[in-house]
């Protein structure tokens, strides 16, 4: 069930009586709980977050003086997840290419153009890392990644570095494609 404006207002007030602070708290709670539902392999993390907030709003009187709203919401979110698990034991077939994205060649071409632009905006060091990370196949790829890991200070450092570059590129491409569609 989608969250109503009234429920949302009550939830914000519960997070903080100061409006700006309440919005900041809300965004933190949302980011962390949606991430939790994603990590748990849920098909619609946003809907489960709304369901969590709905339940919390229903219990606001019980937890009016709660000192840790995030912790309280997380406890409710775990129950929502358990219920979801019981209802979705059967594996749902997946559709890897989301239908909402433009499947036509034109969309893909634009995406590649944007990627070219975004790669061009990376620093020379980051461009070199991401390019070498995606080079080669099989054992040559493994050897290249070992070299990169030793240059950057270990496998975890490489993971994090490449993750940040890819995240940055992905955000840049998404924004660029959106702008081109407007």
């Amino acid at each position: 069930m989608p969250l109503t404006p009234e429920s949302f207002g009550r939830f914000l007030l519960w997070l903080s009586s100061e409006e700006q602070q309440a919005v900041r708290e809300y965004l933190t709670v949302r980011k962390r709980l949606v991430r939790f539902f994603i990590h748990k392999g849920c098909a619609d993390p946003d809907a489960l977050f709304d369901e969590t907030v709905d339940i919390v709003v229903g219990k606001i009187e019980e937890c009016a003086n709660c000192s840790n709203p995030l912790g309280y919401c997380y406890g409710v979110a775990r129950n929502v997840w358990r219920k979801y698990m019981r209802e979705h034991k059967v594996t749902i077939p997946i559709d890897i290419d989301p239908p909402s994205l433009p499947p036509a060649d034109q969309g893909k071409e634009q995406e590649l153009k944007c990627l070219e632009l975004c790669v061009g905006m990376l620093s020379a060091v980051d461009r070199d890392i991401v390019s070498r990370y995606h080079q080669d196949k099989g054992r040559h790829k493994i050897a290249m990644r070992q070299t990169l890991a030793s240059e950057l200070g270990g496998p975890n450092a490489l993971r994090i570095k490449v993750h940040r570059i890819r995240k940055n590129l992905r955000g840049c491409v998404v924004n660029c494609v959106k702008r081109s569609l407007n």
Binding site: F36, I38, H39, A43, R78, I94, D97, L115
Partner: protein
């Protein structure tokens, strides 16, 4: 005491849903991720690796099943998978486009370059040491001769002229045109210049990520000489484009750069004029 981060292999099991039946362990990791942004980032980076391995086809049957039936359920991860495909395709195409077959063959050994270089250094070093003693006397004699010769040269020959710069860099400001009455920059380009790097300053750029059309025209004939779609580097108060112009496009004469925002076709293009003189 700060709790240590879980091992990557355990995080991987967590992400594949294999800890969901081990309530205590699963809850411990979930709570750590909830409160620790560093761990959350590490978890996301391991998600990326799982997606990479899925696309490489290197996951075993059980992992592949977990990825398809559990891990890839959230739309966010499907989008990550899709983006990874595009990214891999892009870099694979770039690699095959840019690698010469002979160079490409040797590029495979790139991870071993440090070891190869070390072996070469050792071989060359040993050869050098074995011969150096034999040549010591000869070298000393040559050195004495060279010193005497250098002293003669210093006394008799004039200092050589400094080498001309290989690159010419100049900065233009949009709005600096002949029509506006502001002085036009005169750019001196030496014939030996190999690269021409231009910086154009924009006072009120759009947000980062909006591309602009930048055109170079001859002010005398109005002919378009060069064009490119560029992104400005935006700072708090201004922005700038930095780019190379092929040297062969600029001869002595008057030129104009025209900059127009592709995201706002109604906006008036802005111009800047400059004068080029090629010669020493």
């Amino acid at each position: 005491m700060k709790k240590s981060l879980p091992e990557p292999n355990l995080i991987r099991e967590y992400l594949l849903g294999r800890l969901d039946d081990q309530s205590e362990l699963e809850a411990g990791i979930s709570e750590q991720i909830l409160s620790n942004d560093d761990l959350a980032e590490l978890v996301e980076s391991i998600e990326d690796e799982i997606i990479e391995e899925y696309l490489d086809g290197t996951l075993d049957g059980a992992d592949r099943k977990s990825v398809e039936g559990y891990f890839l359920q959230p739309p966010e991860r499907k989008q990550k998978l899709r983006f990874s495909r595009v990214l891999r395709g892009y870099f694979e195409t770039k690699q095959s486009d840019s690698i010469d077959p002979v160079v490409g063959h040797w590029a495979r050994f790139r991870p071993y370059y440090p070891a190869i270089a070390l072996v070469l250094v050792v071989i060359v070093g040993l050869a050098y040491i074995s011969r150096i003693r034999q040549k010591e006397a000869t070298l000393e004699a040559q050195l004495r001769q060279e010193r005497a010769h250098s002293e003669d040269l210093v006394q008799s020959a004039p200092l050589p002229a400094p080498a001309p710069p290989a690159a010419t860099v100049f900065t233009l400001v949009l709005g600096q045109t002949r029509a506006s009455g502001t002085p036009i920059p005169h750019i001196q380009i030496a014939p030996s210049t190999k690269r021409i790097i231009v910086e154009i300053v924009v006072e009120h750029p759009a947000a980062t990520g909006s591309p602009y059309d930048v055109r170079l025209e001859s002010s005398e004939t109005g002919t378009m000489i060069w064009s490119a779609q560029l992104l400005p580097i935006v700072s708090a108060e201004s922005g700038r484009f930095v780019f190379d112009v092929p040297k062969e496009h600029l001869n002595s004469g008057a030129y104009t750069f025209t900059v127009s925002a592709t995201h706002s076709p109604a906006a008036k293009p802005e111009k800047c004029d400059f004068q080029v003189n090629v010669g020493d």
